[in-house]
Symmetry: C2
Subunit: 359 residues, 2 copies
DNA sequence: CTGTTAGCGCGTTCAC
DNA sequence: GTGAACGCGCTAACAG
């Protein structure tokens, strides 16, 4: 009955399917007990140099790698974090994701990603599903309603939010200071002399959108009128909403994000509207592309990778690794205005329609 | 010694950590055996309507979700695919990733992502690591040497490549017809009257780069000179290499990809070089941004999501799901030239230096 | 220091 | 149509 894996391999060699070696195969190969192999690999208990070498050789020879499912089953932890993002294609989230991944890697954690395709309704399920696989979940800019989030926080052991604080900050979160950033943009535009500006709204349910709205309300007044234009969070949304923004007669357009501004810029170009000559344009986030675009976008710098890293740290300190259960912290990341080429003083005349604007 | 999970739960209730319910908890709740619960959930064997309802109720009440680790252990499969990409921030890979994810989802498979940060040396380990967690791995545009790939293919049960065919097509792969695409670009430029063109090279080890080179060799001749300029695969690389491209005196610049062309465009603008008036520019891949840029980029359309989907299908048909082991297929995706605004006939005079070009 | 034993949560045999 | 028992790969408890 010692017909072991090595034998099988020979027989199935034609199929070239190398069956994964188990710890028992390694133990047999090294002529030790499975426990010794485990000890060498996990380093929990000392093992004599001789045996250790034999085990290491066997591991290399067989190409053995422990099965994480079995490890997870036993330890009750998977050594993985889940990350839920609205859209990996959005450079903003791609960066946040990288931040989490890099930080997690340092602690030897794997990252699992779920893309909800900007469908707020899918977030809850995605997080729940990820939580089956991972020890915790990082929720990026969730659009789900407050009470859904609260319920989720009870079902998912280690939940961390990015750019969303739950009711009373029950859920640990790292958020950008959108209010300050948006205020900076408003101040900048006002100083340039703009009095009528349009704002391209992001997803209504986004927490960050509401924070921006607070800043907008605070900044607006008789000498600084803000026209709200429904838009969205993608370049395509920006492209679509650009005409409406122009129609407000504003001399400056504030986009929800750089990614949105990208689409706006393209549409403006199609319409023959020059930025910043005819109209000023601002973004938010400072994605890498913004410096490559022409004109270079005036925006608010957010350290996106850092956001991801901070989220990881929140996860780690919430007891996911050691036992120090420190729930409910909310950390705020700064947002700094970056003035570039897409903003300038308004032209003498108000431009109610793009076509006439050019004429 | 029957101090079970339910007991523990009561004690740690203060921490508000809801421990995941097990199938046994559900069975107790529904007053049936664990086996019955399993049968209801997997639907493998018929169960009486009465019991089925009781089980479903219990599942909902407890919020029970089967532990995938345990399932994986038992079934010897995890119901997950790994995807290794050089850079998730690259819109190209983001799209391919989405393609895999969407297709996998339909078969109820989860997607695990590893980002190698464009470090070819990290690919091997990343794939190996992913293969511990997943039933197979999709390797996107791997830069690793041929023999490393061959070795990897033996260690990873279900390996599929995107944009890379291994020696003799041993590894199932879906590849873009780079050669045809590149040939199309060359023909287009030639027809416009360009005789001296620069090519911004991608990563030397990329299979797709070698395919492009074949097309370039075939197209080049006394009346179509191609100047090779080392570059890379990111926008930043393109930005850096733009000057060198101009210095060749070419009237058209072919970028490795749209993503690279983006950086080139930005640099050209800084230099006051107008596209396509002073110099024509082409990309490859047709990422969404390319239509938003000004000028809109002439490029080669590649259905990126489809690439991902086809990779998934290759994985699925390689016996990862059923047993139909159909190894070594290589499928080729078409590449279609999209003529937009960044290419035009060359200006009358050759432009050896950007500054003089404008004057 | 090392080997043996038990069991993590689940699905799938077997008996009934 | 249902329940009891076994084992997936691994490691933490015990024995020696």
């Amino acid at each position: 009955m010692w017909c072991n894996a090595a034998m099988d391999r020979v027989r199935t060699d034609a199929g070239a399917r190398p069956p994964r070696a188990t710890i028992i195969d390694v133990a047999r190969e090294a002529a030790v007990s499975p426990a010794t192999v485990s000890r060498v690999l996990t380093g929990t208990k000392p093992v004599s140099a001789d045996l250790e070498q034999r085990v290491r050789d066997a591991v290399n020879r067989l190409g053995y790698r422990p099965n994480p499912a079995a490890q997870g089953l036993l330890r009750g932890a998977t050594h993985a974090v889940g990350v839920v993002v609205p859209d990996v294609g959005n450079p903003y989230f791609a960066e946040v994701l990288k931040g989490v991944t890099n930080a997690a890697e340092e602690s030897d954690f794997r990252t699992l990603v779920a893309d909800t395709g900007e469908k707020g309704g899918a977030e809850h399920d995605a997080a729940l599903e990820l939580s089956r696989w991972a020890d915790g979940v990082v929720l990026c800019s969730p659009r789900m309603p407050q009470r859904e989030l609260a319920k989720l926080a009870q079902a998912v052991p280690h939940l961390v939010c990015v750019n969303r604080v739950g009711r009373g900050g029950q859920v640990p979160a790292v958020v950008v200071d959108f209010e300050a950033g948006m205020a900076g943009i408003c101040r900048h535009l006002r100083e340039l002399g703009h009095r009528r500006v349009a704002y391209l709204r992001g997803p209504a349910r986004a927490w960050s959108e509401r924070a921006r709205q607070r800043a907008l309300r605070a900044a607006s007044g008789p000498d600084f009128e803000v026209f709200q234009v429904p838009c969205g969070s993608s370049s395509v949304d920006g492209h679509r909403a650009a005409d409406a923004a122009l129609a407000t007669g504003a001399t400056a357009v504030m986009a929800f994000s750089d990614y949105v501004a990208l689409g706006v810029l393209a549409r403006f170009d199609e319409l023959g509207v020059s930025v910043p000559r005819d109209v000023s344009l601002t973004g938010f986030d400072d994605i890498a592309l913004s410096e490559l675009l022409r004109p270079r976008l005036t925006t608010v710098r957010v350290s996106k990778q850092d956001l991801g890293r901070r989220a990881w740290e929140l996860f780690a300190s919430s007891g996911a690794i050691d036992g120090a259960d420190e729930t409910g912290r909310v950390v705020t990341a700064s947002a700094e205005l970056i003035t570039r080429d897409s903003t300038a003083p308004p032209a003498g005349a108000i431009t109610p329609l793009p076509k006439t604007a050019k004429a």
